[in-house]
C-alpha cells in the first residue's frame, strides 16, 4: 500500500508528535508514505476567509502535485489540512469561477489539475484500506483497561463526512477497541475544542476546552484520543488557565496514532509522548500482554 | 450562420400522461424556462413516428425533444420501451446523415417532475443555440442553387419552334 503524504505545517511544528507516531505506525503496517515533493501551506481557515479563490489556488497546488507525481491518494493527517484540501476539491468542481481562477494560477506555473487526487485521512486508510484485523495482528501490548475518550473534533467529519457519520463517527472507536482499549461513551466526540478562540477569546474558547476535558474526566477517561493537532494542543496546553477559571480537569490528550504505537510495542519516546504537557501515565506493566 | 436575431426552434413530442403533465405542472408552479420549445401532445411517446422527427427537422426545427414516462412507468405498459429502441437506431442514422447528436434528445420525465421539464428544456436550448441553426429548408435551397437558370439556357439554346395545334396526338 502506497500513499502520497501531506504533513502540513502542524506535523512539522507543534504537532510533530503526531508525525513521530504516525510514520512508524504506518511503516509497521506496511503502508508506504511518500511525502509530497515541494508541498506548500494548505491555506488553512484564515486564508479562506480572506480570499476564497486565492486560498483554493494555494491548496490546489498540493492537489496538483499529488496528481502529477502520484500516488493520487493523498494522506492528510491534520484535520485543518484535510478539510481545506477537501473543500478545495469540492469548490473546484462546484464553482466555475474558482475553477478558472485555479487553472489560470496553476497555468502560470505550467501546472494542471484535473481533479483526480483523493484526499484521505489516516483513520479512513487504517480502518478501510489496512483493515482492523491486520491491525489486531500487530497488537503486542493490548491497552487493556485503559479508558479512552474518542475525540474527533469538528473538521474531519463536517461538513464533508467522507468516511464516517458526521454526528456520531465511530471509526476511531473501532480502532481503539481493536487495540484492546476500553472506549467510553463520549457524546462530545465532535464538539468544538475551542479552535483558535483559545488564543483570541480565551473565556469563550477555553470554556469549550474545559467542557470537553471535564466530561472526559467525569466519565472516568484515563486519556483523550484525538486526531487533530489543534485539538490536541488546546486540550493539552491550557490546563493551568482552565484550573484557575473553573477547577481541575486533568486528563491527558494524545494522538490515536500514539496509542497505536504503544499497542504495537513501540517505546513512548519514539512516539513523541514525552512532548505532552499533561503526561500520559505509563501503561502499568501488569497490562502487558504475556 | 452568426445571426444574432436567430432563436433556436425546438419541437417537443410529449406523452400525455407524464411529460405533458409535467410541463403543465411546471406552468402551474410558474417555473420559468426558455421559450424556444413548442410542444406537440401525443398519447404516448410510442406514437412518435420517426417520420415526425425527420419532418420537423426538414421543416426547419433546430432540434427535437421527445418526452415520455420513465421506463417501467409507461401508461401503456411499455410504449416508451419501443420509443427507446427506435430512438437508439435513429440516433445512429442521424449521425450518419450529419445531424449533431445534441439536436435530438429523448428524456423520461414523470408527471411530478415539472422542474425537470425546465432544466431539460433550458439545457437543450443552450446546447442547440451553441450548435447554431440547422435550417434545413435553407440548406435545401442552397443545394438547389446549382440548378438555377439552367432551364432558361436550354430554351435559349433551341431553335424557336412554336407548337402547332393539332399536331399533338393521342391514341
Amino acid at each position: 500500500m502506497k500513499y502520497s503524504y501531506f504533513p502540513g505545517c502542524s506535523l512539522k511544528g507543534l504537532g510533530r508528535a503526531y508525525e513521530e507516531s504516525l510514520l512508524p505506525v504506518m511503516k509497521h503496517l506496511g503502508v508506504e508514505l511518500v511525502e509530497l515533493d515541494d508541498w506548500n501551506c494548505c491555506g488553512a481557515t484564515a486564508y479562506m476567509s480572506v480570499d476564497e479563490a486565492q486560498a483554493a489556488v494555494l491548496a490546489a497546488r498540493n492537489l496538483a502535485i499529488a496528481e502529477q507525481t502520484g500516488p493520487q491518494d493523498l494522506l492528510t493527517p491534520c484535520s485543518a489540512c484535510y478539510l481545506v484540501l477537501n473543500k478545495t476539491q469540492h469548490n473546484i468542481t462546484d464553482f466555475p469561477d474558482i475553477k478558472t481562477a485555479v487553472h489560470r494560477a496553476l497555468g502560470t506555473a505550467r501546472m494542471t489539475y484535473s481533479g483526480k487526487t483523493n484526499v484521505r485521512h489516516p483513520l479512513d486508510v487504517l480502518v478501510h484500506d489496512v483493515g482492523l484485523d491486520v491491525i489486531k495482528e500487530k497488537v503486542v501490548r493490548p491497552l487493556k483497561g485503559l479508558k479512552v475518550a474518542p475525540y474527533y473534533g469538528c473538521q474531519v467529519v463536517r461538513p464533508y463526512s467522507t468516511f464516517d457519520d458526521d454526528w456520531n463517527p465511530t471509526t476511531m472507536d473501532q480502532l481503539l477497541a481493536t487495540l484492546g482499549a476500553e472506549v467510553i461513551h463520549y457524546p462530545l466526540k465532535t464538539k468544538c475544542c475551542g479552535g483558535s478562540l483559545t488564543g483570541t477569546v480565551p473565556e469563550a474558547g477555553l470554556r469549550l476546552t474545559y467542557i470537553l476535558l471535564k466530561e472526559a474526566a467525569r466519565r472516568g477517561a484515563d486519556v483523550v484520543a484525538t486526531i487533530c493537532p489543534l485539538c490536541q494542543f488546546n486540550l493539552d496546553a491550557y490546563h493551568d488557565q482552565i484550573e484557575r477559571r473553573w477547577g481541575p480537569a486533568r486528563v491527558p490528550t494524545v494522538y490515536f496514532t500514539q496509542l497505536m504505537g504503544l499497542a504495537f510495542g513501540f517505546p513512548p519516546r519514539q512516539l513523541g509522548l514525552q512532548r505532552n504537557f499533561v503526561p500520559m501515565k505509563e501503561l502499568p506493566t501488569e497490562r502487558v500482554a504475556g | 450562420m452568426l445571426d444574432t436575431t436567430w432563436q433556436p426552434r425546438i419541437i417537443a413530442f410529449f406523452c400525455n400522461w407524464c411529460t405533458y403533465t409535467a410541463a403543465d405542472l411546471a406552468g402551474v408552479s410558474r417555473l420559468k424556462y426558455a421559450p424556444n420549445v413548442r410542444v406537440i401532445r401525443l398519447m404516448c411517446s410510442g406514437r412518435v413516428d420517426p417520420q415526425f422527427l425527420l419532418e420537423a427537422l426538414a421543416r426547419g426545427a433546430d432540434g427535437v425533444l421527445i418526452g415520455g414516462c420513465h421506463l417501467g412507468d409507461c401508461h401503456y405498459v411499455e410504449g416508451n420501451a419501443k420509443t427507446l429502441r427506435r430512438f437508439l437506431m435513429l440516433k445512429r442514422l442521424l449521425a450518419d446523415l450529419g445531424v449533431e447528436d445534441q439536436r435530438v434528445r429523448l428524456e423520461w420525465i414523470s408527471a411530478s417532475e415539472g422542474d425537470r421539464v425546465r432544466s431539460v428544456i433550458n439545457e437543450m436550448v443552450d446546447q442547440v443555440r451553441a450548435l447554431g441553426p440547422l435550417n434545413l429548408p435553407g440548406r435545401f435551397a442552397d443545394w438547389d442553387r446549382e440548378m438555377t437558370g439552367l432551364e432558361a439556357q436550354v430554351r435559349a439554346a433551341e431553335p424557336q419552334t412554336a407548337p402547332k395545334a393539332g399536331e399533338l396526338t393521342h391514341a
Binding site: 454526528w167 467542557i211 | 400525455n16 406514437r47
Partner: protein, 666 residues
Amino acid sequence: MNSNGNNGDLRIGFYICHCGHNIAGVVDCPAVAQHIAKLPGVVVSRDYKYMCSDPGQELIAQDIREHRLNRVVVASCSPLLHEHTFRNAVAAGGLNPFFFQMVNIREHDSWVHTDVGAATAKAKALAQAAIRRVRFHRALEMTRVPIHPDVLVVGGGITGIHAALTMANGGKKVFLVEREPSIGGHMAKFDKTFPTLDCAACILTPKMSAVRAHENITLWTYSDVVKVEGYVGNYTVTVRRKPRYVKEDLCVGCQECIAACVFKEPKFPDEFNVGLGKRKPIYIPFPQAVPQVVLVDPERCIQVRTGKCKQTCLEACADRQALDFTQKEQLVEIKVGNIILATGFKLFDAKRIPQYGYGLYPNVVTSLELERLVTSSGPTGGEIVLKDGRHPKSVGFILCVGSRDMKTNRWCSRTCCMHSMKLAQLVREHTGADATVFYMDIRAPGKGCEEFYDKSLKEGIQFVRGRVAEVTDWALAPEEEGKLVIRVEDTLAGFVRRIPVDMIVLAVGMEPHADAQEVRRLFNMSCGTEGWFLEKHPKLAPVSTFTDGVFIAGCCQGPKDIPDSIAQAGAAAAEAMALIDKGYIEQEPNTANVMEEHCSGCKSCIPLCPFTAISFDAPSQKARINEALCKGCGTCVAACPSGSIRQNLFEDEEIFGEIEGVLADA
C-alpha cells in the same frame, strides 16, 4: 348542417382566451387573434377575457350557427383541464365536438415565460399548428366502457375501512385487502385522538367489527395484491393470501391454543406494541383484532420451522381443528371495476437523526411508542415509565423529527404538533410530570385544534420555540447529572438553553411506505418526487389518479389527520360509486384502426400491442384491431411500415399538420 365538417370549404373559428391576466399578462392576445385571422380557412378570430365562462362558451356556439363554422380552435389553458368544456360548447353549437382543437398557451406559455415578444410568438406558432391540424379532423363519437360493479380497497386502516363501509352500505360488493393480520392500521395503536381526546379504540372498534360483519365486504387480511391487469371498469387483480396456519372459518378466537403453546412465556417482540411488548409464536395481534383469528409466526413456530413440536396447540384446539400447519400461500384472482388505494404511511426512522440519540439513550422514545405506553391496553397497562421503571418527572417533546427538514423530509407531517400536545396532556394527566414541547411553529389549523393548543397552554405545558440541536447525556451543571439534556436555541429568548429531562419523545413524521414505488407501478400510477401517490389534480381531483378507476385516499397521498383521511375515504368511495352507478365510462375515441384495403398483413404491429388488441385475421390475411381493447397509445400506428394504421384524434396528417404549422414563420 355541417356536422360532418367535410363539406368542402373549411370554416375555422379561432378564440384566444385572456384568462384574466394569466395569459393576457404575458401574451399579446389581440395580436395573436389578428395574426390567425389572416390564415386560410379562418372565418372568425376573436380574443376574449374568459373563454371557459358561460358567455365565452356561448360565443363559440353562436359563431358556429351564425358563421357556419365547421372547425373550432381555442387557445387557452391545458387541454387536460378544459378540453371537455369546449368540446361541449362546440357540440352545443351543433358541430361534432371532435372538430375542435385546443392550444395550451397558459401552462406551456404565459405561465412559464416572461418575455412578451417571445411568448406571443410562441402562442402564434402553437395556434397556427392547431389551425393546420383541425383541417384533418373527422367526426367521432365517445366510446363507452362498461364498469364492473365490484370494488377493491387496498389497505385496512381507518381510511380503507371507511371507504369500504361507505360503498358496502351503498350496496356495492367490496374486497378489502390488508397486508397485516388485522385491520385497524395506525389508529388502532392510538390511545386517544386529538383534539377531542375521545378514545381511539371506542370509535374505531365498532367500524372494524362492522367490516367483519358486513355482507357486502370480503375481508382478506395478511394478504397483498401481486398483480393488476386491465383498465377502468374491468380490472383483474391477483391477491396473495399468506398462510396463517389457521383456518379462518374454523377459528373462533378463543385463544386457548396461545395459552397451550409450548412457549410458556411470550418472548418475541410484539409488532403491534412496536416492540415494547412480547408475544408467542402463535398469537393474535391485539385484543380487538379483526378478524378475531389467531395466526402462527412461521419464523418462530417450532412446528413450522422444524416440524418437530409437541403441537400442544393442536390439542388445545381439539375438535375445532382450526390449526393447519400444511397451509400454503394461495393466489386468488378477482374482477373489479374500481380500485381505492388507502395504503397509508410509515413512520420516520428516528435513528436517521443521530443527534437526537434515539437507540442510543433508552429514554428517548418515539411518539408512537409513548402512545403504546399511555394506552391501558399497552405493554405497561397504561403506566408511563422510564426504562428503569421510575416515573418521569419531566418529559420533553421534540417536534418535526423527520419533517420540515432539508436533510431528511421537507414536508410538514401535519399531525405531529397536535399529536405531541395530546401526548403532553396525557403525560401530565397520568404522571403530573413537567412537559415541554420544542417546536419551530405550532400548526393547529384543524377544527378545534387552536382551542386544543390553548388548552395545552392552560394546563401548564411549556413551549420552547427552536429546533433542538441535540440530545445528550453530558452534564455541565449538577442538576443535569443522570438526565437527558436537550440543547436548543430558544429563538424567543434569544440564547442557547440546556434543558434536562427524564424522557424525550420524538414526534416522528410520516413517510411514504418503502415499497410505494412498487405499489404505484403495480397500479400504474405516478408518485410525487417525495414518493406520495400523485393525485390527478391537487385541487379539482384530489382522490383521482391519472389511471381511470384507480383512486387514492388517506396518507398514501400525503400526511393527514384522521378527519381528513375519513373525508378522502368518503370522497374516493363517492367517485367510485358514481362510476359504478353510471354503469359505463366514456373514453376518448382515440383508438387505432387498420385500413383493410391497404394492410399487407406483415404482422409487424401485432406484438407491439400490450393489450393484445391487434390480431391477425386469417381469412382476410390482414391485421385487425379490437377497438374495445385498444387504449389508444398509437405505438402500432407509428410502427406500421406501410402507413396502413391510423389513430383517431392523432392521425399522421394531423400531426404533420401541427409540425408544419408550428414551424411556419409567424
